[in-house]
């Protein structure tokens, strides 16, 4: 999931009898799966919660380009390089779709970027882990994009129209991301012993960070209830995490790699795999800014924004000059 620990901007769910007429009509639309559109009436807390969630999701897409961009120039073949380049370009597009969805709620993209750079908004914890070698790039596509798909497929049914439409578009492209990752890791898992060792190492290191992408366990997610009632969130963190584990274990087995967690075991009674919880203190520490790459990621984002300022300003000055000349000629 690209949006974790979103604080819902409200104090618990309001009982129906305490709702205003507008709030009741709004909740009825949500309950009947009628999408909310930008100019429809909505509670201020719904709007603010969505800006936080969509904004964090957008930031994650953009920051997510950094760990992968790290390997574009060092991809093992020209074909892998072209594929990785296309994937990273997609992520920029996904960021754009999401910023656009957030902008329909009355916040501008530049404002959101500013909030990120000031440390007032976050991006997914997963991108604070390093990509040490080529196997990591395969594992990122396979596991990180795989986890993102599980979350985003659910979010296609989210209640806010523009967010839902962005998710539908993103899901179409995301399946290429997961498949190219699995293809890359498969080449290594069935390659030389050293390649296989690297594939196993990448799986072992990225497994738990990928599980953390879904956010803390339901028991600890204090913000979820209102977001679920508003259908900003559609499935709980634990449900999504279980779904990801269940779909990924057979993929690991096909690669003949060792399972990254000794407690992974099919549970006949539940009809699901059992598995170990990730290290939650580590998760909270990464969220707080103390992960292996937090400082570098923010430094790179801020530098890209600052270094691009003269280009943005120059193009706009040129556009204004051209427009003024056209007016003068008329």
């Amino acid at each position: 999931m690209y949006a974790q620990m979103i604080k819902t901007a409200s104090n618990g769910i309001k009982p129906r009898e305490e709702m205003s007429e507008e709030e009741r009509a709004f909740q009825d639309k949500i309950d009947n799966d009628i999408k909310i559109e930008p100019r429809d009436w909505m509670p201020e807390d719904y709007r603010r919660t969505l800006i936080r969630q969509i904004g964090q999701h957008a930031h994650s897409e953009v920051v997510g380009q950094l760990p992968e961009g790290n390997w574009i120039t060092r991809a093992p073949t020209l074909e892998r390089k072209a594929i990785l380049l296309a994937k990273v370009q997609d992520e920029a597009g996904h960021g754009l779709y999401l910023y656009s969805a957030a902008e329909t709620l009355g916040v501008s993209r530049d404002e959101l970027i500013e909030l990120l750079h000031e440390g007032k908004m976050k991006y997914s914890s997963i991108f604070n882990y390093p990509t040490l070698n080529w196997a990591d790039i395969g594992a990122v596509g396979w596991l990180v994009d795989g986890a993102a798909i599980v979350n985003q497929v659910a979010l296609q049914r989210t209640s806010y129209g523009p967010y839902s439409r962005a998710m539908i578009r993103i899901c179409k492209e995301e399946s290429f991301h997961a498949r190219q990752g699995y293809d890359a890791i498969r080449a290594m898992a069935f390659g030389t012993p050293e390649q296989k060792r690297q594939a196993q190492d990448a799986l072992n290191r990225l497994w738990f960070p990928a599980l953390m992408m879904f956010g803390p366990s339901d028991a600890e997610s204090t913000h979820s209830e209102q977001s679920m009632a508003w259908k900003i969130k559609v499935k709980s963190n634990d449900e999504l995490r279980q779904q990801f584990v269940d779909q990924t274990i057979p993929q690991i087995e096909y690669l003949k790699l060792d399972l990254p967690d000794p407690n992974i075991k099919w549970n006949e009674e539940r009809g699901h795999y059992d598995f170990s919880e990730p290290d939650w203190p580590e998760f909270f520490n990464v969220i707080k800014g103390n992960g292996p790459c937090n400082v570098d990621r923010m430094k790179d984002r801020v530098a890209a924004w600052d270094d691009g300022e003269w280009v943005r300003d120059g193009l706009l000055a040129h556009a204004r000059k051209k427009a003024a000349r056209k007016v003068a000629a008329e």
Binding site: E37, R39, D40, W41, A86, Q89, D90, G93, L96, Y97, S100, E103, S108, R109, D110, A166, R169, E173, R312, D313, L315, L316, H318, A319, K322, A323
Partner: protein, 94 residues
Amino acid sequence: MKNEWPLWEIFIRGQHGLSHRHVGSLHAPDAEMAVKNARDVYTRRNEGVSIWVVEAKHIAASAPSEKGPLFEPSESKIYRHPTFYDIPDEVGHM
């Protein structure tokens, strides 16, 4: 002056013979760059053969509050649909 690029709405014609359809929006300093950016963002997988861009501020829209008066009157006019009419079997396909 605030230096944020204006917002453009993007319309793509998927194939010849179809109409342009709204696909999303993006920021660009002018129309020329909006077309270039739209090509990069919205047609990476053969999605289009033609692009229209319109600066978002130029779009006028119906108000959600007028949904009832605008669209409800057509709900009761079922005689505007061909299925309203029974055509005798003997007449054949019409």
